[in-house]
Subunit: 429 residues, 2 copies
């Protein structure tokens, strides 16, 4: 854990190093992934079967290529009632928040008599990558699948690796609840290739979202343009801005809720009270011992954790904007005032009763958020990731008389005579 | 030019080949581009200067790294008055259309007492690539720069190659009109690298848009995630759906307005009247002879042009959806009825008086549109490409009591105890 004070002479340099630290694996898998994509593109299911046997250790022809709808329905039915209610509450709240995001079509005629507009439509089919193993979260299934269904996607396809053939019943239950249409037992870069290019068994999709390892992320990047993808994701992070009116153990728990995800996660505390900072530092030690995720959380906190003492919270927005963190929690008396000055953040959690984890599960907004300073230019997952807009234009003779000659002048200036001609021939010239 | 009839026994296969034809260069520049990006990242302006001398044949220290604002202002002032008015009309209409696109913030409290919302903000800085030579269009400058400024981007930076030091005054005039803040005389993959990573002279930007050659496109693709980018662009295309009530020479002009862009452009006509198809085919020959862009237009039409005879326009929407064309012109009696059934298109031009070229210049909607079937999953350039959304959540004690326990149950089920703890510690448990 790194302790900084904005009064220190070397603070600017030390903080700049924190901002610049990518915490991302430098493994270059581009060539390996390119070969896998090519293989699946050329050999389809044969390649998919061989790669699954190699990486996941099971034979798809024996274990089954798909998990059928009845198995997902049964997984949901078999849930402990408390957990089933929790999942239903989460799904309902996520659905409501994303339904309110649906964009409106436009259709109007302007003063020149030109009819203009835009129509939003869902993509025909979307693919969702769901990791196996440690990162197989039912909440992640809901957060990716529900926006697609709310957008109006007719065919929603999940691919998920099932190492040694084992599936995660919680994830299947969430797939049932979210209305997923197909679940395929394939993972890795080859599963992403199958979604993009299609194979004999799997029809291609238009958009691919969802988290994955370095191979999956690189496959999505290489297929960007063949299909749409969500943002490239890196290690996740939280910035907590907290004053001394908070209980140290609560803020410690918030910092550790990020740290327990992965050793590459990052938790940063900004506070205006050095004694409170000390108390949080101590509370983190106490809290850590109670966690069965202690090894991961401790590795993250010790390697990437940062506590920054500032003289005043007036310094916080500039620091927050430089970090452009995925999650920003503001536990102060007037969180609104600080939020207004923070331009770059994935999601903001306001006040002392809004721990970031409520946003991970049940608040409603999406928990798929830009990491690694990408909040400077990108947004959390939304219905828009599963939709596209078609603009339209309609002129009558009078409108073409009004604005056509300007287009002719510009086309001539750009040296494009057929452009000019397509207009002038309609102006009776 | 390929002539197809939907009655032909081999039609489905022949049409599938048209759909599958990418018309894109197979040149693999990935390794070359990766080396250039690395070089600019490490050596900054020194690399930029050397690469500019090599590719554009001038010394930036002598010819000047930047075009100053006064030069752009003067280029605008020196325009022929007709052209200046045309450019002003275009800018005004583009600005109005894009201003109406600005998304609304949300802030509401739901039945559970949870305050939820989202705030849209512009990125701090955007970079715009403007090609030199044949594709240096002032209309393209307006279509990229105005949405950025309407979105609220404070710093808008243009990079453009100036072979042998020569600049295009029309493009500078458009930069002045659009409110561009900086113009740098650099191009190619190295200019894109400079925008993404920054150099000693050029501060980095958050988003890069604009067309370019294969090197520029590959540089943008490789830098996706370091910065935001607009869609990967390929050769452009038009689909014209026209009945026999149109004058053949008008439809021929529309087809050629796409063909004259580049030999890789594609123009497709769907009509329900074989005699009209013949007449258009003849009119294309006549029109071609009048164009100083004849060589390009003829190459495009002969290589990529397609005329499809259908028995009825009821067949047209399925064909249009498979093509997912950048531009779709519907010159029939009831264009609205067909538009409603076309799900995948960049922009639609309705009726007999709306040649696509009015959309290239003055109608208002953006002319930067998805090509190569990407309208299945992506949209034309808009203010949203220069903005990002931050969600926010605020709970009080009662709201946390209402939805917190469900989050605890889910966190426990996912094996994330610190997530659960950050909530339960606030529930007084």
């Amino acid at each position: 854990m790194l302790r900084l004070s904005s009064n220190d002479p070397g603070f600017a340099e030390a903080f700049a190093r924190v901002v610049a630290d990518r915490r991302e694996s430098a493994v270059d898998v581009a060539a390996d992934v390119a070969a896998i994509l090519q293989d699946v593109r050329e050999r389809g299911d044969a390649a998919l079967g061989e790669l699954t046997a190699k990486f996941d250790g099971h034979d798809l022809d024996q274990s089954g290529w798909q998990v059928d709808a009845e198995t997902c329905r049964k997984a949901f039915g078999d849930l402990d009632p408390t957990l089933r209610s929790a999942l239903e509450l989460a799904a309902e709240r996520i659905r409501a928040y994303h339904a309110a995001q649906l964009p409106e079509d436009r259709d109007y005629t302007d003063a020149a008599g030109v009819r203009l507009g835009a129509t939003w439509r869902a993509v025909d089919a979307a693919g969702l990558y769901v990791p196996g193993g440690r990162a197989a979260y039912p909440s992640s299934m809901l957060m990716n699948a529900i926006p697609a269904k709310v957008a109006g996607v007719e065919r929603l396809v999940v691919v998920t690796p099932t190492p040694k053939g084992e599936v995660n019943p919680l994830v299947l239950a969430a797939a049932h609840l979210a209305g997923v249409d197909e679940v395929w037992r394939v993972g890795g870069a080859h599963a992403v290739a199958a979604l993009a290019y299609g194979t004999e068994r799997i029809s291609p999709v238009d958009v691919i979202t969802g988290p994955g390892n370095a191979w999956v992320a690189e496959a999505k990047r290489q297929l960007y343009g063949v299909v749409g993808i969500d943002m490239v994701a890196g290690p996740s992070e939280i910035l907590v801005i907290a004053d001394a009116q908070n209980e140290p153990r609560k803020i410690a728990a918030d910092l550790l809720s990020q740290a327990e995800h992965d050793p590459t996660s990052q938790s940063i505390l900004i506070t205006d009270d050095a004694a409170f900072a000390d108390a949080v530092e101590q509370a983190v030690e106490t809290e850590l011992t109670a966690l069965h995720t202690q090894a991961t959380a401790r590795a993250s906190w010790e390697t990437n954790g940062v506590i920054i003492d500032v003289a005043s919270f007036a310094e916080a927005p500039a620091l927050a904007n430089a970090l452009a963190a995925e999650h920003v929690e503001i536990a102060t008396d007037d969180p609104e005032a600080l939020m207004k000055q923070i331009r770059h953040a994935g999601s903001v959690f306001l006040g002392r009763m809004t721990p970031e984890a409520v946003g991970d599960y049940v608040a409603g907004p999406n928990h798929v958020l830009p990491t690694g300073r990408r909040a400077r230019f990108s947004s959390g997952l939304s219905v828009l990731d599963f939709m596209k807009r078609t603009s339209f234009i309609q002129l009558d003779s009078a409108a073409l008389e009004a604005i056509g000659p300007a287009a002719v002048a510009l086309a001539d200036a750009e040296g494009l005579p057929a452009h000019a001609r397509s207009i002038s021939v309609r102006l009776g010239q």
